[in-house]
Amino acid sequence: MLKIKNLEVSIDNRVILQNFNLEVKPGEVHAIMGPNGTGKSTLANVIAGREGYDVKGEIIYKGKNIMQMPPEERAREGIFLGFQYPVEIPGVSITNFLKTAVNEIRKHKGLEPMPAAEFLAFLNEKKKIVEMQTTLASRSVNQGFSGGEKKKNEIFQMAVIEPTLAVLDETDSGLDIDALRIVANGINKLKNKDNATIVITHYQRLLDYIIPDFVHVLYKGRIVKTGGKELALELEEKGYDWIKEEMGL
């Protein structure tokens, strides 16, 4: 589904990611872990097509090189980014925002816009996945939301948009234990054999709830170690210094 080959990303001649390779297949969950400032968020942004980076290499998604594809098209093709810091958009209700998004994606697929009543029923169904209050959707996108509400809202949007590839950037940060459980449950419910998830995280604790098929350790812009779910536990126990020493970095 996703193949990243020899990716090199820099900003203002400062290299952030280099010699980065990753392959993700349908049905898989990949965790990308690493200390702060190693390029985790940059990776998420580049997969989603954010401008402002100098990008070399190849990102192949569903067999197509998407390097030149604008972000909205990547989104319509099924790439979803769960933001680390979801932005506030005053004056635009979540319902209206998602209706626009869903209908754009439908248009891209050659489908008619969803009738309003059907859409509202669809939203109500999806709210259950993240135990979202019914009133929240009438509020402006993320405006005045607590940290936990913002992250729940990201997963709610993911549920509505039904992406093929979800990249979740530090979705666990800033969550208390109850919110973490709700968000993780939401992610698990949305998982199926045809979609894939990349979970970017700093801590192991999210992985108590979401069991990854692969764990990759990102350090200084590239993957320095890959393993199964036990690698996350080892990291938690020994800290990132252990990787540095082991890899002779």
Binding site: F83, N96, T100, E104
Partner: protein
Amino acid sequence: MQDNTDKILNDVTQGDYKWGFVTNIETEVIPKGLTEDIVRLISQKKEEPEFMLEFRIKAYRHWLTLKEPQWAHISYPAIDYQDIIYYAAPKKKAQIDSLNEADPELLATFDKLGIPLNEQKVLAGVAVDAVMDSVSVATTFKATLAEKGIIFCSFSEAVKEFPDLIKKYLGSVVPYTDNYFAALNSAVFSDGSFCYIPKGVRCPIELSTYFRINAANTGQFERTLIVAEEGAYVSYMEGCTAPQRDENQLHAAIVEIVAMDNAEVKYSTVQNWYPGDKEGKGGIYNFVTKRGMCKGFRSKISWTQVETGSAVTWKYPGCILLGDESVGEFYSVAVTNNFQQADTGSKMIHLGKRTKSTIISKGISAGKSNNSYRGLVRMTKNALNARNFTQCDSLLLGDKCGAHTFPYIQVNNKSSKISDDQLFYCNQRGINTEQAIALIVNGYAKEVLNKLPMEFAVEAQKLLSISLEGSVG
């Protein structure tokens, strides 16, 4: 797509002016020149009540104290205001109640312009007020509209029949002190249209006024006043053309729009006054003041204009966003060719909280023409969370024409900017940047340009649809 755009551009810049013919009709004119007596004479000809005469005289006296503005990026020989005839009317036309009594020449003229006034062939779904030179010739569908309490009639008629409404709203958006040409118009205006949509009424058909200059050496000074009461809706359109003449003719109009709580007014215009010949001889000087007042909560006024005519254009339709959450929109395509000059744009004054405005302006210049965008966006201190989006694109065809942009943006509070983060967030959910801006500015996404309502605007509609994205500007 590109071929299509080229064809539209080619048609509009290479085609000849199609509406340059003259109607042979007996015309009553008054002597040339402008004095207080002339102002009195116009008022007398129109059998106006006292308050109108007073308004005109005050405006005239104020006009005498003003100087013609020089700041626009246009140049033209000085206008001799004493060499203009300020009132001309097709004869025979007394008060017409039925179109059957109208002069067949007049009907033929409007037929030729694509505006059939005959009862049998009136444009479906459109009520038309036809104005030739200084007077309204005919208004269609009047009775149908009256059933809903909608008033749509010539300005002269409104002054007599609905003096209270005129007294209340005349000059309330564009006072005669506003500018030089507004003062001139207020002193000598001859006719125009008045629309009044009562509370809660959605006007079921399009309203339209067609202005035609016919007589030589005359100026055209019309006024349009549109009032939409609480919850009312109306879509209104103006079209205009003039014969081909070697002398320049002056056109100085005023349009005022008032929208109360939750009211919506869509105003569209296709301005196609005679632009002068290929050597720059002749053509209309078009100095127009158009303004809307979003007075009520969540009121909305949108301007759509397609400008292809006139030798010189000076015009800045705008909105005063007074009501909280009111919305102003301006969509414009201005095409200049040969020696045409246009200095046009929009003014959006944000006074209310969470007010929103959008300005989209496209300029296309060909030949030796000059096309300038001049716009003002002002966010006052009280306009918390106000939003504006302005986009100006220009296209230059050839190397002897010019495009200029003069934006003035005054923001007195910090809550009103769209960030890259917000745009990317929308992009990431499948919403492209243009739509994202519409969503954030208007609260909903929609087609960027309005549809023009009229059949005679098919050509103009094509112009609106072309995209100049990525061209110079």
